[in-house]
């Protein structure tokens, strides 16, 4: 029987899952993803995790709870640094330790450390260690790794073209890579935030779909080319230390400076440490660009659909009126 490898459907899932999935399948292992975030997962997470933790970490605990009894291995690598420059949030760095010392009954946790600053081949090595669990053939691992990398590239391309992670993953499965052009909307918003918040339909209270329903086209972080992010200058003397935070903030600066969107929404989570700074910098920046309305939305354990919808509607209305006023002037 194929070994089952559990993967929590949160955090890095949205960015790297197709790669891990391909890799495991090539080696004859079976990836088992936790269920979609739900009330139950959230409640489990709230119960297992520390009350003072941020919502995404609580959700992560919920996903571990959901999947841990169905698997032989739990894959939670300790991802420290992937770009040689910025690191991930300290809570990411401590993830394997937090769950190992919280849950009593866990399958074997694969928590290889990945830090490309120490070792240029850290990613390959991590996959090698993972692959070793299922085969002894280095060649086979290498082959699978390369295939996985190709799939990941394709996946990121689909994301860049505006597909949601879910849609992109489906597309990869159907092998139909043609993308139908985005319908033209009257308004275009940048919705910036960490992938595991923005693309988790449950915890984001479906914000993206709601905006689309209100006739707003949305752009997310994944659609901003990496070199644009890399080359965007902020007026802050130090880059944010944390990878996702750095990207979100630079993307925000990019949109404010270019003025290519009609509004910017920052989607952030209750109790997020890095975002307390990112959000403030965005707010200060937005003061210099009054023609691009900015709103920050904080989600928490109790975010209600209704309240969120009203706020979004009001914001969209405001942007619409503003745009009409400019057009008429």
């Amino acid at each position: 029987m194929a070994a089952k490898v559990g993967i929590p459907r949160t955090l890095f899932y949205y960015v790297y899952f197709p790669m891990v999935e391909t890799f495991l399948k090539e080696l004859g292992a079976e990836p088992v993803v936790s269920s979609k975030t739900s009330r139950k997962i959230l409640d489990d997470g709230v119960r297992e995790a520390l009350a003072d933790a941020c919502v995404p970490v609580k959700i992560f605990f919920g996903h571990v709870q959901d999947v841990k009894d169905k698997i032989d291995f739990l894959f939670v690598p300790r991802v420290v640094c992937l770009n040689g420059r910025t690191i991930y949030c300290p809570k990411f760095l401590g993830l394997p330790d937090m769950i190992k010392h919280t849950f009593d009954q866990l399958p074997e946790v694969i928590d290889t450390r990945i830090d490309v600053r120490d070792d240029r081949f850290a990613v390959w090595k991590a996959f090698y260690m993972l692959g070793k669990k299922f085969t002894n053939s280095t060649a086979k691992i290498f082959f699978s790794y390369n295939k996985a990398k190709r799939v990941l590239k394709l996946y990121h391309k689909l994301l860049k073209e505006g597909l949601s992670p879910e849609a992109a993953m489906n597309k990869l499965k159907s092998k139909d890579y043609n993308i139908k052009p985005n319908h033209q909307s009257l308004l275009k918003f940048a919705v910036l935030g960490y992938p595991y918040i923005v693309h988790d339909k449950y915890i984001s209270v479906n914000l993206l779909d709601k905006l689309n329903k209100l006739g707003v086209e949305t752009i997310t972080l994944e659609q901003v080319p990496l070199n644009i992010i890399k080359n965007t200058k902020t007026d802050i003397p130090k880059d944010m230390f944390w990878t996702f935070s750095d990207m979100v903030l630079k993307a925000a600066y990019h949109f404010f400076n270019r003025g290519t969107v009609d509004g910017i929404i920052h989607l952030t989570a209750f109790g997020c440490g890095p975002d307390s700074m990112v959000d403030k910098y965005m707010e200060l920046k937005s003061k210099n660009h009054p023609h691009i309305p900015f709103m920050s939305v904080t989600i928490d354990e109790h975010s209600g659909e209704a309240g969120m919808y009203t706020r979004l509607e009001a914001f969209v209305d405001m942007v619409k009126r503003k745009k009409e006023a400019v057009n008429n002037a």
């Binding site: 520390l50 003072d52 300790r78 809570k91 401590g94 010392h101 307390s276």
Partner: protein, 368 residues
């Protein structure tokens, strides 16, 4: 003349004040953080900023009102938020119309030229490089003496006959050290201080508990931010040992050199092998070491939303069970009240006393 201020972090302001004055600056002394400081900080800081951030912002706003035009502080490369504090502080102050200058020191080893430039920026008295080094040495000397006094207060307070004597003596020694300006004067003040502490009438028979304090640096070092937890514990008959001093007091004075730090990392390794920024790993490591040194308990102090301490706190219960040492955590924010804290401390100290008695009884039983 530059009018400088800096964070109020325990008694360190006494040493920094001398250093800044020696370099020819006017010092706008940061007031001891009060409700007003915190209110100001809370009003203008992001909601989920950590407590130290809010207190510092409040401090800067208060001193800006008093004419402060330069903030002197340190940066750091993270991976925690403190490394970004200063620049966001400046951005917020500018947004509020205070045009303050910021001199933010980064680790001199990594950025020697930048360090030199910033020192020169503050060198209003146009001192020679040698004189600056001398001034820094004097400041360091003073800081060490101050730490020594604090350390003595931790030891003696739980044993004092008359409640409050130690705190009074401690304040007095700070005043003496504040006035001392040369190495000789600092030495003398320190010697006087030691004498004064030793003269405090003590109760030799009192059963004193030993508790280790671990956690995030600012709330550990600034009593106003931790609601004077050390004093409160002292009055409950608890001797505290703090895991952190600005001068690395414990490290230098236990005579083990840097080995201690290594062993903290080692002690933390089975639980948290990764450096997660802030002092999260030290929190774990020190807890293990306190347990090994047979302390009665450990208290973790952490700012609300503090990232590394949250990670540490998640792991601590396991450490507490494995090493059989009770651990109590306080997440501090603007809503933490002293009364609530005292109640929780009393319950904790009770538990420690009972545990200690039980152990003794068991040992006696085993012997008979």
């Amino acid at each position: 003349m530059r009018k400088v201020t800096f964070p109020h972090m325990g008694h360190s302001y006494i040493a920094f004040k001398m250093l800044m004055e020696d370099m020819g600056n006017e010092v706008i002394l940061p007031p001891r953080p009060s409700k007003k400081t915190l209110d100001l900080g809370v009003k203008y800081a992001p909601e989920f900023a950590c407590l130290p951030y809010k207190i510092l912002l409040g401090t800067y706003l208060q001193t800006a009102e008093m004419g402060m035009d330069t903030i002197v502080t340190s940066g750091g490369a993270g991976p925690c938020r403190a490394g970004h504090y200063a620049h966001l502080h400046k951005a917020i102050l500018h947004d509020l119309g205070y045009n303050v200058d910021l001199v933010c020191f980064e680790a001199p080893k990594k950025h020697p030229i930048d360090f030199y430039r910033k020192v020169q920026k503050l060198n209003s008295a146009k001192l020679s490089v040698l004189s600056i080094i001398e001034a820094i040495k004097r400041g360091w000397h003073k800081l060490k003496a101050l730490d020594h006094m604090e350390k003595l207060s931790h030891k003696i307070r739980p044993r004092e006959l008359k409640r409050g004597t130690t705190s009074k003596v401690y304040k007095m020694t700070q005043l003496w050290l504040d006035e001392a300006r040369t190495h000789k004067e600092i030495e003398e003040a320190e010697a006087e201080g030691i004498k004064a502490f030793n003269n405090i009438p003590q109760d030799p028979n009192r059963e004193v508990l030993k508790v280790g304090l671990v956690g995030e640096i600012y709330v550990l070092l600034e009593p106003a931010s931790n609601l004077e937890i050390e004093e409160t514990l002292g009055h409950m008959g608890v001797e505290v040992e703090r895991s952190m001093f600005l001068t690395g007091w414990t490290r230098d004075n236990l005579g083990k050199g840097t080995e201690e730090l290594i062993s903290v990392t080692d002690a933390a390794k089975p639980y948290l092998p990764e450096l997660i920024g802030g002092h999260g790993r030290d929190t774990i490591g020190h807890t293990v070491l306190y347990a090994k040194r047979k302390f009665d308990g450990v208290i973790q102090l952490a700012p609300f939303t503090c990232i590394p301490e949250i990670v540490a706190r998640t792991i601590l219960p396991k450490v507490s069970i494995i090493h059989d040492i009770p651990v109590l955590t306080f997440f501090l924010d603007e809503q933490t009240g002293k009364a609530g804290m005292v109640t929780r401390l009393e319950a904790f100290v009770d538990l420690l006393r009972r545990k200690k008695q039980n152990t003794k009884l068991n040992q006696a039983a085993a012997l008979s």
